[in-house]
């Protein structure tokens, strides 16, 4: 009996709009059934999330393009025309909802990674000692992960003029957005958090070698290394130990 009630009540809750009141039977059932109360809470949360996402406006010519496409398809399958229209609209609506959900969840996850990073205030810096020049602090934009106003063209423009006219491998365009940098040990990067592109070769360098004993090996060199991630085995020999 209760299962039947649950099914009916959930259907009723399902069909309610946000803010609408439900029947007395539903009120009575909800007071007794924890599962249905949970269902109702989840349903309400979901609707609020979806409701807060705002309206996605279709392009101005969406209607025209849709009609044109439908008209094109109508000649070949007139019998299923309206079914297709209907299922197409449902599919489109579902796709939009799923997309918005992904965006919302991703934003929520980012927020969790960097609490307090949204609408970040300008950095407050330590007092500067009297004998120090005041540090020049880069302007902080609302987002923590800002791609600097540097393009491959400007990078090359600033490359030292002593360099030969190297033929560069093609460089892809700068990513429009960047993901968050890893925040190590809970320490946020300081004022210098502006992301900048590294103008580097587009393709890793792979070479096959033969040593003096006839052994062959292949070495692949990454296009970019950070710090002293030596690209080949041997380390820097500036200060060998026990050799003077």
């Amino acid at each position: 009996m209760r299962k039947t009630n649950c099914k009916q009540i959930r259907r009723e809750l399902d069909e309610l709009m946000l803010g609408e009141t439900w029947s007395a039977a539903a009120t009575e059932h909800l007071s007794e059934c924890a599962e249905c109360r949970e269902f109702h809470v989840q349903q309400t949360k979901l609707r609020k999330i979806v409701g807060s996402l705002g309206t996605i406006e279709a392009p101005a010519d969406f209607d025209f393009r849709l009609r044109a496409r439908l008209a094109k398809g109508a000649s070949s399958a007139p019998a299923i025309y309206w079914r297709l229209v209907r299922s197409g609209l449902i599919a489109a609506a579902l796709a939009v909802v799923v997309l918005l959900g992904v965006v919302a969840v991703r934003d929520a996850m980012r927020l969790g990674e960097n609490p307090g990073e949204v609408a970040r205030k300008p950095e407050v810096h330590q007092p500067v000692k009297a004998d120090q020049a005041p540090p020049v602090i880069p302007e902080q934009k609302p987002s923590d992960h800002v791609v600097a106003d540097v393009t491959p063209a400007t990078i090359r423009k600033f490359r030292p003029t002593q360099q030969a006219d190297y033929k560069k491998r093609p460089l892809s365009s700068i990513a429009i957005s960047s993901t968050g940098a890893s925040v190590l040990n809970g320490t946020q990067p300081a004022a210098m958090s502006t992301a900048f592109p590294i103008d580097s070769s587009a393709q890793s360098f792979t070479v096959s070698l033969e040593d003096g004993r006839g052994n062959a090996k292949t070495i692949s060199v990454p296009t970019v290394s950070f710090g002293s991630q030596r690209i080949v085995q041997s380390g820097n020999q500036f200060a060998p130990k026990r050799d003077w």
């Binding site: 030292p160 033929k167 940098a181 809970g186 300081a190 992301a195 592109p197 590294i198």
Partner: protein, 500 residues
């Protein structure tokens, strides 16, 4: 009604799924860390290597005899690798110090000669336009890239000194010798990768650390200190250590387990001063010996070097001196008639107890300086004073170990002529638009080969009319005629033999 129901069901399922994913992946908010100090004096250095330099790096680092195959897009003069590392903007607003890990590939075994070579020979590229000097640039705290000129390498510290072409284009702050004590909290600044997309995005990051061990310098001040931090990796080398007040306290020059070795500010300043005074690279002072501190040796190890039991025990009991285990032929040590088995007890009246102390005092003396050693010898009953004139060397390993790594053409060692080569197999030669032979990857600018016009990028076809593979050196040769291919054109380069 059905439509609404289906939509609701999908929404519900989607929301539950996303909520599950989100709650599973979102980490619990970390406790808010104290805001780190700004360190605008820390900049990012970009050091690029082209294909020719990469070959040289491989030659120095691997047992490479020949290149068998290359990827199809390879070009000798294209950039093939970019190193991204931190740099420290010094207080004059134009000098940058950075620990560039691949800097040694830019120089010859003698750091283009010592004393300083003429400026026209600093980098061969300035002469022939083919082999350029180090390709470095600087990215300031605002993300803007500014041009910089490579001044030189201080081989004792491994620091490269750059100069900005326009003063004050990056932020600088006073670099003072701040006190450093065990237990101090520090921040290690360095560029970190943000995305691996094309192009790679980077930004300045920082990790927290703690000073663990401060090693005093024999002459006062700090010689080195260690900082422990979680997640230290080689990517942190070159990073700049900053104290809680935002003052620079050093540069990471190595890793030992979970600890970073930090070069203190005093040594950074001294390195910059040495290079700027000379406007060229400064080699390490070189004696030409291998050895070990007596205090670190067992009695029988001392005896194995010719010491009698009683005297060996006396030496070991005093815990002082450096026992020389080998002498490099032709080195300042050999010229001063030092021998394996000798023990250097003092340098300029300073007692030596550890290898680090010996290194320290030699570096204080500097290359091309004279030092006075107090020496004990197994077959000589009394200690005596010995004057030794040190020489300079950027890369000791190069002089001692390189010979075996370079193609030997039946007794004719091209490395002896200051020429570094790597053999090209036919397929690779064809790909590079040349013919098989020995590709010249470096010519020491203070050699006859350089003066004669041999250039990196040349492919040696014959020497004295014989193919390089069949060449036999003539004992009486005082001139070598090289037939080379340069930019698809054949040329002849005549190089006087280097006199020993």
């Amino acid at each position: 009604m059905n439509f609404r129901r289906i939509t609701s069901a999908v929404l519900l399922v989607s929301a539950l799924f996303y909520q599950t994913v989100a709650s599973g992946q979102t980490p619990a908010p970390a406790p808010k860390a104290p805001k780190p100090p700004a360190a605008p004096q820390v900049v990012t250095i970009i050091h690029r290597l082209n294909g020719l330099k990469m070959f040289r790096l491989l030659l120095r680092s691997e047992q490479v005899q020949s290149i068998d195959a290359l990827d199809s897009a390879f070009n000798l003069m294209d950039d093939v690798h970019t190193n991204v590392i931190a740099g420290l903007a010094m207080d004059d607003g134009e000098t940058i110090a950075a620990w560039l890990p691949e800097a040694d590939v830019e120089f010859g075994p003698q750091i283009v000669g010592f004393p300083a070579p003429p400026k026209s020979q600093m980098f061969p590229g300035s002469v022939n336009g083919f082999f350029d000097g180090p390709d470095v640039s600087v990215i300031g705290a605002d993300g803007k890239q500014v041009p910089a000129k490579y001044i030189g390498l201080d081989a004792a510290t491994g620091l490269s000194i750059l100069k900005l072409e326009n003063k004050n284009t990056v932020s600088a702050s006073a670099i003072k010798e701040e006190p450093v004590s065990s237990g101090d909290s520090v921040l290690l600044f360095g560029p970190e990768q943000v995305t691996k997309t094309r192009p790679v995005l980077a930004r300045m990051g920082a990790i927290e650390g703690r000073v663990e061990n401060v090693m005093p310098a024999p002459s006062g001040g700090i010689a080195r200190f260690k900082v422990s931090a979680a997640k230290l990796s080689k990517a942190n080398i070159g990073g700049v250590a900053v104290n809680q007040a935002g003052d620079t306290i050093g540069i990471i020059d190595g890793l030992e387990g979970n600890e970073a070795s930090i070069l203190p500010v005093a040594l950074i300043k001294r390195a910059a001063q040495r290079v700027l005074e000379r406007q060229a690279s400064v080699p390490r002072p070189w004696l030409g010996v291998k050895g070990e501190a007596v205090a670190a040796l067992k009695l029988d190890e001392i005896q194995n070097h010719g010491w009698e039991m009683q005297r060996a025990a006396a030496l070991a009991g005093k815990h002082r001196g450096i026992l020389l285990t080998s002498i490099v032929p032709g080195s300042p040590a050999e010229r001063a008639e030092l021998r394996a088995g000798d023990v250097i007890l003092k340098v300029d009246d300073k007692d030596i107890q550890t290898a680090d102390e010996f290194t320290w005092w030699l570096e204080q003396a500097g290359p091309s300086s004279s030092v006075e050693f107090t020496v004990a010898r197994p077959d000589r009953p009394v200690e005596w004073a010995l004057n030794v004139k040190l020489s300079g060397m950027s890369d000791q390993w190069s002089r001692v170990n390189w010979r075996s790594r370079f193609p030997s053409i039946k007794g004719f060692w091209l490395i002896d002529q200051g020429i570094e080569t790597i053999a090209l197999k036919p397929l690779v030669a064809s790909q590079l638009g040349t013919t098989p032979g020995l590709l010249v990857v470096y010519v020491d600018p203070v050699t006859a080969a350089f003066e004669a016009g041999l250039e990196p990028g040349d492919v040696i076809q014959t020497i004295n009319g014989e193919p390089v593979s069949a060449f036999r050196t003539s004992p009486n040769s005082d001139l070598y005629t090289f037939e080379v291919v340069r930019k698809k054109q054949k040329r002849v380069v005549k190089i006087p033999a280097k006199k020993k």
